[in-house]
Symmetry: C2
Subunit: 413 residues, 2 copies
């Protein structure tokens, strides 16, 4: 955890109410950090369904491989997350550590190992001593309660400067259900998919395959539209758990993703994912400004996404934003290197509502003083109109500051 909170942290932290069927606790296993919690343990009632999206890295962590396997059955009874060590690139020992952790959790929580979901975040390449989970989980299993969501969000932090939580209450066929989500991000953040870890919980009774479809669609414009540094983690994991307990209060069991009763739930879920993803961008390592890159007029949405990502990942664009410099020339550069259809002489570029460039040249009405004033804002909207088609998209990122270098030059040592 960093010593100072990002200036981009949300003004209010939501107070999360319990999700029926979910109990949780946190504990300090001393895996890497001292004097703070580093393990989150959650327990779900029998019948809980689960869906997940994991990193597209071809070198995934051992817990990611475990989750991929476990997701095939779509059933969950427990979630164990540790911070401080990612258990990635740890070879056979890493796989053994994952198996042992799941076995310990299964005994303590009374379920099968294959119903235990695992995630680890922190240093890569260091062996994880899973025996530390034995006392930690023994202790945790006796302290499971339904309220400490803030503690849960805190236990999974690494270089995050604030805990990330979001919540929603929504009607499922007239029955109120809850969705709670937590996330951690900070660095090594780039899509496919995006944040290192995020967990979402609901008491809605929704079949696993429906959950999966909702989640796969939901990440596209939320977690997958966020980048901090273009670096994709080996550990990216987003899991969505549905306890189904709301069925007791009359909520219908949803077995078809096109069920019209899902409409409000789907929207609330997507909004919640978007909220958490934005919090991740706002807490990018060293971030001092949130940059929203809007691309319009591309030949397709896919093309707009690629151009937006090229801009959002450009170190020169990001350092310019850090320097409060409306350097549209670097934006042109980033459009040009994206490799997507673009015609320099049709481009328009705006910061906020201020158009700085039009038809391939500086806007005739350009006033440096006005745009410089705008660049002092904490949230910067950069809009590029490609002028070729109707494809548009939006990507969130942050600026690139000296603080990012400090954090990442010293992280391991």
């Amino acid at each position: 955890m960093s010593s100072s909170i990002s200036p981009l942290a949300p003004e209010f932290v939501p107070q999360l109410q319990p999700v029926p069927g979910v109990t949780l606790t946190t504990t300090a296993a001393g895996i890497r950090y001292q004097g703070r919690t580093d393990v989150l343990v959650m327990s779900f009632v029998p019948g809980t369904t689960v869906a997940g999206v994991t990193t597209r890295s071809l070198c995934p962590s051992a817990p990611v491989e475990w989750c991929r396997d476990a997701l095939k059955k779509g059933k969950a009874r427990a979630l164990v997350v540790n911070s401080g060590n990612a258990n990635a690139f740890t070879g056979k020992n890493g796989r053994a550590a994952v198996k042992l952790t799941a076995e310990i959790a299964a005994v303590k929580l009374g379920c099968k190992p294959g119903e235990v979901f695992l995630a680890s975040t922190g240093v890569i390449g260091e062996p994880l001593d899973a025996t530390k989970f034995e006392p930690a989980l023994t202790d945790a299993a006796e302290r499971l309660v339904d309220y400490p969501w803030m503690d849960a969000a805190r236990a999974i932090m690494t270089t995050d400067t604030f805990p990330k939580l979001a919540t929603a209450e929504v009607l499922l066929d007239d029955v109120p259900v809850r969705i709670n989500g937590i996330a951690k991000g900070a660095g090594m953040i780039a899509p496919d998919m995006a944040t290192m870890l995020s967990f979402v919980f609901t008491d809605a009774p929704i079949a696993a395959d429906v959950l999966q479809k909702l989640l796969s669609k939901g990440v596209k414009d939320t977690f997958n539209a966020v980048t901090v540094d273009g670096d994709t983690s080996t550990s990216d994991t987003l899991l969505l758990f549905a306890t189904g307990v709301a069925e007791e209060r009359g909520a219908p069991r949803i077995k078809d993703v096109d069920d019209p009763r899902l409409k409000a739930f789907r929207r609330a879920l997507f909004d919640l994912l978007a909220d958490l993803a934005e919090q991740v961008a706002r807490d990018g390592e060293g971030a001092r400004k949130l940059l929203r890159v809007h691309v319009n007029g591309a030949v397709s949405k896919k093309s707009a996404r690629r151009i937006a990502m090229s801009i959002a990942n450009s170190p020169l664009v990001k350092t310019a934003v850090a320097g409060e410099d409306a350097n549209w020339g670097r934006v042109v550069m980033a459009v040009g290197k994206a490799g997507e259809p673009a015609d320099r002489d049709l481009l328009s570029i705006s910061f906020g509502d201020i158009r700085v460039a039009h038809e391939g040249a500086r806007d005739p009405d350009y006033d440096e003083a006005v745009v410089s004033q705008y660049m002092k804002n904490l949230v910067i909207d950069l809009t590029v109109d490609i002028g070729l088609g109707r494809g548009s998209d939006r990507v969130l990122t942050c600026d690139l500051t000296k603080e990012y270098i400090t954090i990442n030059g010293d992280y391991r040592s």
Copy 2:
């Protein structure tokens, strides 16, 4: 120009001898900088052939478009380069400025506008006042001499901390010919092609189409294997001029790229391009360390290149090198996100001769003290063995430091 020279600057600066058929001078047109030269003017004898490689950016600068047109004829009589303003994203005015500059140069140097090659480097998006070239070129045309190569290399610098020069003398069928090259780099450096500007000159009599083949092949493992920040400039230009004057001394005129008499020349040219490209990497903005990324055992050379570039462009790898941290976990991350065939459990990673990871886990003989000592070096060799095939490649980059942020947060203002 930066105030302090990169610690990675070459220990010796070569003393360039004249290239018969080439005269040059530098002048101060006051385009942006005060108190330094900012225009390089070169004149070539009639019969000079030319080849070139320019940026793959889809939003190229006006001078790049001009060069692409002029290259079609393969004939050159003059080169005019200015620093301080890139004349990129300047619309119709930019094209008019380029045309006017070529026309002024043609009058002053006694040739056709289409035989004048142009390059501009500096700020993007600002109009370039080409009328400033009128007095500058009048003055310059009267002062052309054959020796001030160091001045030439200095006049084209922007944020470079040292001038980049290279030279070679080589036999073309028993007749000695010379190759001189200059370059400027520093930021916005990524392949397709690579450095912003580089110019190479020889007195060898070589047909334009042969020059072009040599150059296109030559850039692949030299300029195109260098990256500073993954950002591809709109202005990247590499030109190779051959005056042919050595023919007077009996050198054969080369009309076929497979001519066996080209062998030594080809090798010398490639070595010279590699030398200049390495100087560009050594002078990456804020660079304190040169990082050579070697990838072996990939499924193909192309795949090895993509993996090497993914590593070389990863901000997390580059900040780790800046922090003298042999963070192989981040190397695994970068391999994983490259999207190329790789199997985590077959990877080996070495810093220098020290193997830190093997078969997907930390090397059993890993000694942090030894590798930490190695990381203090100015030049770091990082070798990744993918373990799948025989494809190998090498890419040069530098570390990512706070100085990069300082330079690029303040560049325009």
